[in-house]
C-alpha cells in the first residue's frame, strides 16, 4: 500500500461523493420512469424530453449565473458547430435508449454503458493521441472478445449496445474538444434540438394516434417531468464532477449500468442467455483491470 498522501483531497469531497452517487442512482433507475410511457412513440418521448428540459435548464443557469457562458457557447462559431454535432449525438443516444427500454432491451442498454469507459480510451487513443497502458490494452482486448461472443451468439441486440456506447462516447469526445461546462452545454444542445422537437411534437399532435401527449393527465405530467428527469441528475453530476477526482468518479459511474442490469434481469425478466452473461463477465473483468490501472496511475500522479 503506497497511498502516501500523494494528492491532498479536493475541498468538499464528501458532498461531491453524495451528489455523484445521487446522479448515477437516478440514471440507473431511469428505465422505471420510461417504462411508464410505453404507450407513447419513442420519438415523441424524446421530443418532449428536449422541449421541457429547455425552460428548466435556463432557469437553473439563471440561478447559477451561468447564462453568459451559455450565450457564449452559441455565439462562438467554433463551439456552435461542435454543439450542433453533439446535439445530434445526444439525440440519437436518447432515442436509442428510450427505444431499448420500450423494446425490453434494458440489458443491452446496460452493456452499452459498461462499454463506454473502455470505448472512451479507444477514441482518445485514435482521435486525441492519448497514450494507452498495457493493462488498458488487455482490458480492451477482453471487452472486444466479449462483444465478439455476443456477435456470435446474440446478434439481435448487439447494435443497441454498440450504438449507445458509440453515440455517448463520440458525444464525450466532441464535448472534450469544445471547452463547455456540462450545464451550459446541455442547455445549448436542447435549445438547438428544440425546433426539431417542436416539429415532431406538432406532427404527433395532429397525425399521431392515441397514447401520446393529451391522451391522459398521467401521460402529460410524465412527459413534462421528462425535463426534470434530464436536468436534475445532470445538476448533481456537474456538482460531483467539480469536487471529485476522475478515478473516483469513474468507479461510481458503474452504479448506473449495474442498476439497469439488475432491473433488466430481476424486475423485467429479460432473458440473460449464456452469450450475454459471458459478454457481461468479460466486460466486468475488463473494467476491473481498467479501474486498478487507473487507480495506480492516479496514485503515481500521472494524468488520466
Amino acid at each position: 500500500m503506497t497511498s502516501a498522501a500523494a494528492a491532498a483531497p479536493p475541498p468538499e469531497k464528501g458532498s461531491g461523493l453524495a451528489q455523484g452517487i445521487g446522479a448515477y442512482l437516478a440514471w440507473g433507475f431511469m428505465p422505471l420512469f420510461f417504462k411508464q410511457l410505453t404507450s407513447v412513440p419513442a420519438v415523441e418521448v424524446v421530443a418532449h424530453r428536449v422541449i421541457w428540459s429547455v425552460p428548466l435548464l435556463l432557469l437553473i443557469l439563471a440561478i447559477r449565473r451561468q447564462l453568459p457562458s451559455f450565450w457564449a457557447v452559441l455565439r462562438t462559431p467554433q463551439t456552435r458547430w461542435l454543439m450542433l454535432l453533439s446535439s445530434t449525438l445526444i439525440a440519437a443516444n436518447w432515442l436509442i435508449y428510450v427505444y431499448a427500454v420500450f423494446a425490453d432491451h434494458i440489458l443491452a442498454a446496460s452493456l452499452g454503458y459498461y462499454l463506454t469507459p473502455l470505448l472512451n480510451v479507444l477514441l482518445g487513443y485514435f482521435f486525441l493521441k492519448e497514450g494507452m497502458t498495457r493493462a488498458t490494452f488487455v482490458a480492451l482486448l477482453l471487452a472486444m472478445i466479449g462483444v465478439a461472443i455476443l456477435a456470435a451468439g446474440a446478434l439481435d441486440t448487439l447494435w443497441i449496445s454498440l450504438a449507445l456506447a458509440f453515440s455517448f462516447g463520440m458525444y464525450g469526445l466532441v464535448r472534450k474538444l469544445a471547452p463547455v461546462g456540462s450545464m451550459p452545454g446541455l442547455t445549448a444542445e436542447t435549445v438547438i434540438l428544440s425546433p426539431v422537437a417542436l416539429g415532431a411534437v406538432a406532427w404527433f399532435w395532429m397525425y399521431g394516434g392515441s397514447g401520446g401527449f393529451g391522451s391522459s393527465l398521467k401521460i402529460d405530467l410524465l412527459l413534462i417531468a421528462g425535463g426534470a428527469v434530464t436536468a436534475f441528475p445532470l445538476l448533481m453530476f456537474a456538482g460531483a464532477a467539480r469536487r471529485m477526482r476522475l478515478t473516483a468518479l469513474g468507479f461510481i459511474s458503474y452504479i448506473g449500468p449495474t442498476i439497469q442490469f439488475l432491473l433488466g434481469v430481476l424486475l423485467y425478466d429479460e432473458p440473460l442467455t449464456t452469450p450475454r452473461l459471458a459478454c457481461f463477465a468479460l466486460i466486468w473483468f475488463a473494467l476491473v483491470i481498467f479501474s486498478v490501472d487507473s487507480v495506480r496511475r492516479s496514485r503515481r500522479g500521472e494524468a488520466l
Binding site: 452473461l277 463477465a281 476491473v288 486498478v292
Partner: protein, 71 residues
C-alpha cells in the same frame, strides 16, 4: 489485509461454485458468483502480495469456463 480479504472472497466463491456445477442451478449461481471473484481481484490488486488476487483470477476463469461449457 487486501491479500487476506481476496483469499476469503475467493474461497467463498469457490464454495458457492460447487453447487453451480449442477446443470439445474447453473445460471442463477453463475450470475451471483461471477461478480464475486471479480471483487476479490479488485481488492487483491491493491495489496503487495499477489496470491489472493491470483487465486480469485483462477476461480473467475473456472466459473467462466463452467458458464460457457455447460449452459
Amino acid at each position: 489485509m487486501g491479500n487476506i480479504a481476496a483469499w476469503l472472497i475467493g474461497l467463498v466463491s469457490a464454495v458457492l461454485a460447487i453447487p453451480a456445477v449442477l446443470p439445474v442451478l447453473g445460471w442463477l449461481l453463475a450470475l451471483i458468483i461471477l461478480p464475486l471473484p471479480l471483487i476479490g481481484i479488485l481488492i487483491g490488486s491493491f495489496s503487495r502480495r499477489k496470491s489472493g488476487r491470483n487465486f480469485c483470477i483462477l476461480i473467475f476463469v473456472l466459473c467462466f469456463l463452467r458458464l460457457i461449457v455447460f449452459l
